[in-house]
């Protein structure tokens, strides 16, 4: 019910913005700025870099609002713009995976049922992951996106998204075990 209400509010806000109500964009900004900032903060440790990415994402989102088709939530669309901006910053046409994703073994058993007990050690290990793994992990495990949505967001295949997530979790678990055994 809340999600439905939120979508209705968002649709109403976007239609107001399209009709020239700039105050409505401020409301949309207030609703999303924190979500985007904290997400991007996982890729850029420098606050000013994150701020700049957030600014660019909001500016581009507003400029392209006429083409927004309501198929996804505004948040998803905004995240996609921000990820594209980040990608263009590092001058890559597509995200370069740290593993050969094309040759990824899609039969890797998924361990989605195994939930993570998030702690500071895992956070430290998480920071060692490359951007693709970080993005897939966060989008799925923290932001709650499906693999099909992540595929669109990161411009990768849905099965690739699954493979990356599985391997990332395996890696995190292994590293966690190693850390614990050392301690």
């Amino acid at each position: 019910m809340d999600i439905q209400k939120s979508n209705t509010d968002e649709t109403f806000l976007i239609s107001r913005i399209r009709n020239g109500d700039t105050q409505a964009y401020k409301i949309l900004y207030d609703d999303h700025v924190e979500l985007l900032f904290r997400f991007l903060k996982q890729f850029r440790k420098n606050d000013s870099e994150v701020q700049e990415l957030v600014q660019r994402a909001f500016i581009k989102a507003f400029e392209g609002l006429a083409s927004f088709n309501y198929r996804s939530k505004f948040k998803t669309w905004l995240f996609q713009i921000a990820l594209n901006e980040m990608r263009s910053d590092i001058r890559r046409n597509s995200i370069i995976p740290f593993v050969d994703i094309d040759a990824a073994d899609e039969s890797v058993s998924e361990s989605n049922d195994e939930s993570f007990e998030w702690n500071s050690t895992l956070k430290t290990l998480f920071d060692q992951l490359d951007e693709t793994k970080r993005a897939v992990f966060m989008l799925y495990e923290v932001e709650g996106y499906s693999h099909s949505e992540i595929a669109v967001l990161l411009n990768i295949g849905e099965s690739t998204s699954r493979t990356i997530l599985t391997r990332t979790k395996q890696w995190l678990r292994n590293q966690l075990n190693v850390t614990r055994s050392i301690q």
């Binding site: 606050d47 500016i59 998030w118 923290v142």
Partner: protein
């Protein structure tokens, strides 16, 4: 799924100051405000525009007057004389118009009636000739005839004035 509140640390969350700073840049980029400098520029443009309009209007009036004067002075002698006669008669008629309307033939004064009648004939003849002779027609005979009629009308009006048939 991991609870976002557990995953993100407080240092990942932007402060109110950060949010305001980001919004200021976003809004300035998307909705630039009209600064006082812009207003002053607009005001100056308006004043310059008005001044330019006045200059154009006065120049146009000046040019029109000069052109009209040039056209008038370049008219042939005959036409200028026509204009002079017409102007003199028009001026005269304006002064005595009310008197002329009241001047009707009376059986008591045959001469006065005759003069009024002559005046009517003269007016009709002048009107007829003016219709036939437009301003570009320089036929000397027609011009001469028109000048004679003007002359006669002026003389007649003068005579009527002397006889007291026109009261001022």
């Amino acid at each position: 799924m991991i609870n976002p509140k557990q995953f993100y640390s407080p240092s990942d969350i932007p402060t109110e100051k950060d949010k305001r700073a980001i919004w200021n840049i976003v809004s300035n980029s998307l909705f630039p405000k009209r600064t006082s400098k812009a207003f002053s520029f607009d005001r100056r443009s308006f004043v310059y525009g008005m001044a330019a309009s006045f200059i154009v209007i006065f120049t146009s009036i000046g040019m029109y007057s000069t052109f009209k004067m040039l056209v008038e002075t370049s008219q042939p002698q005959e036409i200028r004389m026509d204009n002079a006669y017409q102007s003199a008669i028009r001026g005269f008629e304006e002064v005595v118009s009310s008197a002329m309307v009241s001047s009707k033939p009376s059986p008591k004064n045959d001469l006065a009636s005759l003069r009024v009648l002559r005046l009517q004939y003269l007016n009709e003849a002048i009107e007829q000739l003016k219709k036939e002779t437009n301003s570009h027609d320089l036929s000397p005979l027609k011009r001469q005839r028109l000048h004679a009629l003007y002359n006669m009308k002026l003389t007649l009006l003068q005579e009527m004035l002397h006889q007291g048939e026109i009261e001022l």
